[in-house]
Symmetry: C2
Subunit: 412 residues, 2 copies
């Protein structure tokens, strides 16, 4: 069998994470290790497939030639350094012209290897491109490399990017818990965390339990039905024990009828111009506590830093994120295509992982929720088994390169 | 003159910072260096003067005896490790019984040196205690040691705790700016920062300008009158230049009539139960942009982590915060009393500071605002001179002790 030879292209897509650039660095390193056997040159597409359609490409092989320092800074840069997009591809049968345009550009740049780093939609891009490639005479290997802080992709023990987000949330929650503990006045602090469909991020706020630290009194995940009366009973119970009650709640918790808890305020509250206030679940619970219990209460959201706080990235996550990028190059050069990379944890007691791959069509568009055994039966806390599962993923810190007091970031 | 000899007590008061425990460690080190010449034993009061009144004391000399490791972990622990309180003391003439009770406890524990680490109210405590001590026959030296992330205390070039909060804000703003830059769709992101009366914290978001990084398009401080029409013109101008517009705004910005911009929503919006929504300035500006410009817009608050993100503390700030604690012990042992410590910057080009002290009565209850020359005439950005002033304060990172993936914290 004649081995495939040509150029490669890599793109980033979907929401930023603290580790998506470590995966990009891994792809660069994988191409370097291939030593020109299959891949002559690596292009980067700016703003994902959207930029690719405009031939907005950068020669990454030239940019990173002999520069370990640049790769190191790329790995500690948050958000997609190549830029991102949110373009859902049409089905090949619905718009073959779209795919013909892609193939024309692949041919023009002799691109034979396609790497796409992203979430569910990006894996869908790989699946559709693969389906189209099977119908035409252009040979190209396409591999999807997952990234998502949400950890909700099928087929992986965990996703690249999740460990860093979890480390940020766990550390910040420790600091908030210390902050809340200084006064003796009864007070409730509600921390709203990301996670529309899965509670992996919110659950991470418990891990201080196994790291000599503190943990929130209660944790509410989208996987467990939320009951406002039970919640208020929980808060009263905690206040009876100590004055500083801290609650972690996923933005995506829902009532038994399937409605988001955050929806209450969205439909009910308006400002003087008649705008609906999109307050979120934290504010809804804050007002419920004020109304029913009457103690001091506040709510806060950890917001964007959950997905971009690269200064606190987990070294384990960055290393695995780079590793999965490198493994993708190796897989493609070995003839694999139409697959999505995954991280599989060894069943041994000592933590280790392997990189595998599964058909993109089986991965895209599914949602992986928190395992039922990771939630307590009352639905208001996570179990020790979850904390033990999470702990290896937040281990290690990068020795960051600083520039004038701020972490250095790389831009193309 | 016979030198004063006895025990010392230290307390923490007011809101937490990332550096208030470094100052506590500095006081401990100062007492160790005194080698029993003036101070036999150092007590810590739990929950400030409130706990002291209940004789809730801990023997810090015993706790930290020969334990450099414990002091090191104390220095990286956020929030007041001894606990805090928000007790405003009565005037001595209004309630002499209150002060007699304090003196009784001072006598019981033979306390001759009193150190109080806190903000404005704590300096007021030192001023009132000093005034009372002058009217009675109990000799005790009382020193106030400032801490506030707000940097709004008179008499100092900057306050202990500000440098770490500024480093957190500057770093997080860099990460948010990278996050916002990944898409090409026009979008406005409004970041609300702490600072009710002074804009020092918000101004810190600009410093990336001098550190090879990015900066928000506009920065609005309480020191400059806020005009909603001008703000919307600013946003439109920025959108004409690039798609990703980022705004930093102090919670305390006001209109020309003196009303807080955040007040608009507080008085206008209610939920279905009639509760007023306390939305804050970020939400008010978000709705204004949506209403007038109609592009994608979101607002977020950096919230509590601004004052407790010890994992990202500035080494310069921690060192100075410890230094000012140690200097306070030295000053008290040299007979100084009724004074508040301050940080004075050398006029030399190379950054260095000295620790001085000023009468507590002159410091308490004043507010130090951002120097007018640090704001541009248009009132929507800070100057390079501000960034140059700030830069030394955010330099350096601690080599943190981690425990199972999370920064170690000390508890008593």
């Amino acid at each position: 069998m004649k081995e495939l030879f040509g150029n490669a292209v890599v793109g980033q897509s979907g929401g930023p994470t603290a580790a998506i650039n470590a995966t990009l660095a891994g792809v660069v390193r994988g191409v370097v290790e291939n030593k020109g056997k299959n891949i002559a040159k690596l292009y980067g597409m700016r703003n994902g497939i959207e930029g690719f359609l405009q031939e907005n490409l950068i020669d990454l092989s030239a940019f990173f030639a002999n520069s370990e320092e640049k790769l190191r800074i790329l790995e500690q840069t948050p958000a997609a350094a190549l830029g991102s997009c949110r373009l859902k591809l049409p089905k090949p049968q619905d718009d073959p012209g779209f795919f013909e345009r892609l193939i024309t550009i692949f041919k023009k740049y002799n691109i034979r290897f396609f790497f796409y780093i992203g979430g569910n939609d990006s894996m869908d891009t790989v699946a559709k491109l693969t389906a189209y490639l099977e119908t035409c005479d252009y040979e190209m290997k396409a591999i999807g490399i997952p990234k998502t802080i949400d950890n909700d992709l099928l087929g992986s023990d965990h996703t690249p990017g999740y460990g860093s987000a979890a480390k940020y949330i766990a550390t910040t929650m420790q600091e908030i818990l210390r902050d809340c503990a200084v006064y003796r006045i009864p007070a409730v602090t509600i921390v709203e965390l990301m996670g529309r469909d899965a509670g992996w991020l919110t659950a991470a706020s418990a891990v201080g339990r196994l790291a000599g630290g503190l943990e929130p009194d209660y944790i509410y995940l989208p996987e467990c039905v939320f009951d406002l009366d039970k919640f208020l009973i929980d808060v009263k119970k905690a206040l009876a024990k100590h004055p500083n009650v801290v609650i972690a709640v996923s933005e995506g918790v829902r009532f038994a009828n399937g409605r988001y808890v955050g929806e209450g305020s969205q439909s009910g509250a308006t400002d003087k111009f008649g705008h609906a206030y999109l307050a979120g679940v934290g504010k809804v619970l804050e007002y419920a506590v004020r109304d029913s219990i009457g103690c001091k209460v506040r709510s806060l959201e950890l917001s964007l830093p959950q997905r971009c706080a690269a200064h606190l990235a987990s070294d384990t996550d960055l290393s695995e994120s780079a590793g999965v990028g490198k493994a993708a190059v190796s897989a493609a050069c070995n003839g694999i295509s139409g697959e999505v990379m995954s991280i599989v944890r060894s069943p041994e007691e000592t933590y280790s992982v392997q990189f595998e791959h599964h058909p993109a069509s089986a991965i895209a568009n599914g949602v992986r929720r928190v395992n039922p055994e990771f939630c307590v039966p009352e639905g208001n806390q996570v179990t020790d088994s979850f904390c033990r599962w999470l702990l290896p993923l937040i281990q290690g810190e990068r020795n960051l390169v600083y520039q004038n007091g701020l972490p250095a970031h790389l831009t193309f």
